[in-house]
Amino acid sequence: MGSLFAESRCRIYSILQKNRLGYACRNVGKLRFPVNISSQRHNTNTSTANEEEIKQFSDIASKWWQWNNKNMPLHALNMVRVPLIRDALLGDEKSHKIDQPRPLSGYKILDVGCGGGILCEPLARLGAQVTGIDASSEIINVAKAHASKCDRVAANVSYQCTTIEQLTTTENAQSFDAVIASEVIEHVDNVDLFVSSCCQLIKPGGKHIVTTINRTPLSYAVMIIGGEYISRIIPAGSHDWKKFITPKELTKKLEEGGLNVDFIGGIFYNPLTNNAGWLDNTKVNYAIVAHKPSENYEKSNA
């Protein structure tokens, strides 16, 4: 039955994270969108981790992998981001590697703010050596426990509770073929430090893939409409619309980090069908792929 309805063409572009329900309710009825917002948060924090945010994610740690739970959008988002990351890494090699069981063998990937590993696991299954880091130790424990249930995943993934700026002090700089920050940047403090640390850990020739939410009137409206019925699907987080970053702002920061932006694309998520896909505008969710220029790039184990 449900599957028939899945075919219906109702497109509700939702956000992937949402403000607290209270916040949404307060705003219902006055769909006025705050003007004069700059994404520049004058934050002198030396850490990118916002305690309140991390606590909110830690609270739902045990539910991270529950099916039919509030993380369904993150599962659905894999339909878009896994092929995006895979194809960005494989480049011209795609045509002859795509039919192999482990096309990403030999690639080292860092997933920043990995959560329970919803994105790490498919990348590990594709053969990549994945390091997942998250600021919440509860979530990292959940990620480890879940990975241990599938041998194919367990062999290829390792998790650490840390932040990206800490990692730059321990990990050899420039050691990853790809650094991924998916649905994270909108939760962090000190975005500049976050972005520059990510850029630092990318190999010359390596890729940076970011997915996040744009700061537009539409994304603001969707958050409010979303408050009425998406609240059950999306984990309550202290989602502050003001923290959202536009593709233009992000591009600028990535370029300051020494990267060239290759691709910007809009993404939709339909909560009724739990489907995600590409969209021709970046007004709500979007993805950016950038690379660190290099003349002679070599992949990790190659």
Binding site: R86, Q100, R125, H146
Partner: protein, 465 residues
């Protein structure tokens, strides 16, 4: 949200079945082998599924098992034709070709049929001729089920390293869930071994015990009909390339070519008459078959008159279509020894084809009336669609048994299967009826089909044989 409700139900149902097993699981610690994909049931559909994923290099690193309790019947082709045959349509030939099985079948024994004539006992003028000369495609091949199985086994032998064949039966299954987080499916085998898998494919036939264990709702309707099968010898042993099907009040009788001298009979009738047909002497049986194809006892005179009028009317339309006079079916002269058999018929449909870590294919998911020869063809299409969905899941790094991509298989197949099931069921009900107005309706329907509809369309809408 609509999609989310069934998901919730699907998890809940499974959890219930977990309770059954943890109680019966006992305290003995057994070592469990782990698989990525287990196919339960090595009939035509399950074995084709095993060939399909075993053959695709993308599953190269996956551990795959095929469970089938019954030993393989024959490893060589018998001289005599088997009485269980399938009419394989071009779509299925493509599927079997893609998995490297069709070459073995055509090498062994398969009979091409070029056209098919369907007509109604209530009126001489109600007939439908489907001929490959009207379409770009072949009509199909008649193949013994044993030949299909033998070809599938030959292919599986070559895939030995990829697909492990276990000769045992599934006793019970359960889904491991801890904290709402879904683990593997545990499978208890009849030899008391336990195995685990990330995806279980249920291909265990119409009485699927896997479907029952997973609490999947199943709608089933017994037809008050018996299918009588036999291998018949023909009087004239020249070209035998037409499949014949005549609708009698108690059900259709069909003759499918096996060779120039043999045809296979599938005669659906009421249980009492069926029993008589099984018990009578060979001579009486042959007379009954010949009579069933030609007698005029069932002609309803008014219908005959009306439809011949319509016929004349239609003939005057310069429609560019052609009208061919109905030919008569070949006369049956004998019957192969021990080839007579009878099977009760039913219609069945599973409300869900998938659950977390579970997919049903073939007769376990849907069983149709054999009048349209769709049974195994529907199953082969399941194999094609499910294999494609699973391969896609692998290229996206998905957990092979995760519900979202399995739902794609379900919605694709249910959209295709349900209309076909309804058409077949309606055809059977429409024709197995002595009511004059229904007979008139179908008579007119046939005539219009013959005249006005491009046959290609009919072949696709009602892919009879």
């Amino acid at each position: 949200m609509l999609r989310r409700i069934p998901t919730a139900v699907r998890v809940a149902n499974w959890t219930r079945s977990l309770a059954t097993v943890s109680n019966s699981g006992g305290d003995t610690v057994q070592k469990t082998s782990k698989f990525d994909i287990v196919i339960a049931g090595g009939g035509m559909v399950g074995s084709a599924m095993a060939c399909s994923i075993g053959y695709n290099p993308i599953f190269g690193e996956y551990k795959i098992a095929l469970l089938e309790p019954n030993p393989v019947k024959t490893m060589a082709i018998q001289a005599d034709f088997s009485n269980r045959v399938s009419a394989i349509i071009p779509g299925s030939i493509n599927v079997l070709d893609d998995i490297g099985v069709w070459p073995y079948i055509s090498e062994l024994r398969a009979k091409l049929f070029q056209s098919m004539q369907v007509w109604d006992a209530a009126s001489d003028h109600s007939f439908l001729l489907l001929d490959s000369k009207f379409t770009d495609e072949k009509m199909g091949y008649v193949v013994e089920n044993d030949v299909i199985m033998l070809a599938l086994m030959k292919r599986l032998k070559l895939l030995d390293s990829n697909v492990e064949i276990l000769h045992c039966k599934v006793d019970d299954i359960s889904l491991q869930i801890s904290n709402g987080d879904i683990g593997n499916v545990s499978i208890k085998l009849d030899n008391d071994d336990l195995i685990e898998t990330r995806l279980l494919i249920g291909a265990d036939g119409p009485q699927s015990s896997i479907r029952t264990a997973a609490n999947i709702k199943h709608i089933s309707l017994p037809y008050n009909q018996l299918a009588i099968v036999a291998t018949l010898q023909l009087e004239n042993q020249n070209e035998n390339v037409v499949a014949w099907q005549r609708f009698l009040p108690d059900g259709p009788i069909a003759l499918l070519p096996l060779s120039n001298s043999r045809s296979s009979l599938v005669w659906t009738t009421n249980p009492k008459h069926g029993k008589m047909l099984l018990e009578m002497s060979n001579e009486e049986f042959i007379d009954s078959v010949n009579n069933a194809f030609v007698n005029n006892d069932h002609v309803i005179p008014n219908i005959n008159r009306i439809s011949s009028t319509i016929n004349r009317g239609l003939n005057s339309i310069p429609s560019g279509n052609f009208k061919e006079a109905p030919q008569s079916p070949p006369t049956v002269a004998g019957i192969d020894n021990n080839s007579r058999g009878g099977f009760p018929l039913s219609l069945g449909h599973a409300t869900n084809y998938v659950m977390n870590r579970l997919a049903l294919i073939g007769d376990a998911a849907h069983r149709v009336h054999p009048l349209a020869g769709q049974g195994v063809n529907l199953g082969f299409k399941d194999v094609e669609v499910l294999s494609k969905v699973l391969a896609e899941a692998v290229t996206e790094g998905n957990d092979i048994g995760a519900l979202p991509h399995l739902l794609k298989y379900e919605s694709t197949r249910q959209l295709q299967v349900l209309p076909i099931m309804a058409t077949i069921d309606n055809l059977n009900r429409l024709f197995s009826n002595k009511n004059a107005s229904l007979a008139l309706a179908r008579g007119i329907g046939f005539q219009f089909l013959n005249y006005l509809t491009p046959l290609k369309v009919i072949c696709h809408v009602i892919p009879l044989y």
